[in-house]
Symmetry: C2
């Protein structure tokens, strides 16, 4: 069992071989393999001091909530991606909170914040990894910023539908307009209006509770004009 | 002269005392004290591989440009603040470019990217500093994201005018509507309309090329309702 864990950790943590024996033991004794169901909350920024999350399977979604309860999706992680913002309680220069939830059923390896803190104290490679993950998330968020500030809503919606179809592996999406609006940080009315326009242009077909993509090519064209 | 430099570097670089003698020499021999005039470009993301910038005096502004030439102000740095995104050419996980310009006359200490790279290779404290600065900028940008996504334009404009008055040390601002629009990533018409509303409410007084704040209290109220 321990051997299996070590093999897994070697795979998940790029710095594993650079840890001292004591540091490796620390991770082995305190790390946890967790399972979450689709929709379940994994980390609630304001209250939780969770730790480093490494996605083994499934997809997690990080969202940012305004004081008034509005939300926007910041980034999605899958397939060996790592989240350290869920360990922000020990990162004194991170002044915002995010929430994380399972977008699909998922398996996650969790290194608690307390252990993250100890590893970061002196190990160059853990620090390097931390800086690297921070840079990746900064890049993700700048990409989102570019979308929000410079990209019109029709492009953002087309992009969202195509991405979602890709994630779900189907062109028939069971998602409410309200939910899309939350994802994109806008009002439901804006999304409903735009979807109707897409329907008139024969790109999607709308019915109660579902949106079916019927012309991916046309949706893709929106992104490029 | 060298002694003066060392005193300055001790003050500017939190990791100075943790550098080896060779590393300190590397910085001393390659670092530069630079002066820029207000409005001058310091770093142009797409082309430049500048390095770490530490602000000694004045203010620098970092901006993000869309492909179509629109811009938004990402953050401002002053008074010992450090920018490492100007050294993004050596940060492989940073996938976006920013521009930096002098918002006021300024004095800057520059550590070229090549030296930054060498210092980062093995020194834990430089890496730690890098992760910390990255986290600060991530927090700045998340704050901006919150504004852009969740805050209405009246609040953002009120906030901008108050900030600008603070930076310039005067309530009479010489700034065009076009320029404000660029700063906030919106269209000139949106700003003009909003400023006229502020004028009708006796918060500002508009004349050709200037905006004078005449009631800071009221502008502040906008931020809080």
């Amino acid at each position: 069992m321990i051997n299996n864990d070590i093999e897994l950790l070697k795979e998940l943590l790029p710095f594993w071989n650079k840890l001292s024996i004591d540091e490796q033991k620390l991770v082995l004794n305190n790390g946890n393999l967790l399972r979450f169901k689709k929709g379940q909350s994994i980390h609630e920024g304001g209250h939780d001091c969770t730790g480093i999350l490494v996605v083994i399977s499934g997809i997690i979604r990080s969202l940012f909530l305004s004081e008034s309860g509005k939300e926007i999706t910041l980034f999605r992680l899958l397939d060996r991606d790592t989240c350290i913002l869920s360990s922000s309680c020990i990162l004194r220069d991170i002044t915002f909170d995010i929430n994380i939830e399972a977008e699909k059923d998922c398996e996650i390896y969790l290194i608690p914040s307390e252990i993250h803190k100890q590893l970061c104290k002196s190990n160059f490679y853990v620090k390097d990894f931390e800086a690297q993950i921070m840079a990746s998330r900064l890049s993700d968020i700048m990409w989102l910023m570019e979308q929000v500030v410079f990209m019109s809503m029709d492009k953002r919606l087309a992009n969202f539908l195509l991405e979602q179809a890709d994630i779900e592996g189907t062109d028939k999406l069971y998602i409410t307009h309200e939910n899309i609006a939350k994802n994109l940080g806008t009002a439901r009315e804006v999304i409903t209006r735009m979807l109707k326009y897409f329907q008139n242009e024969d790109m999607v077909s709308l019915s109660r509770g579902t949106i079916e993509i019927i012309d991916k090519g046309k949706l893709n064209q929106i992104l490029n004009y």
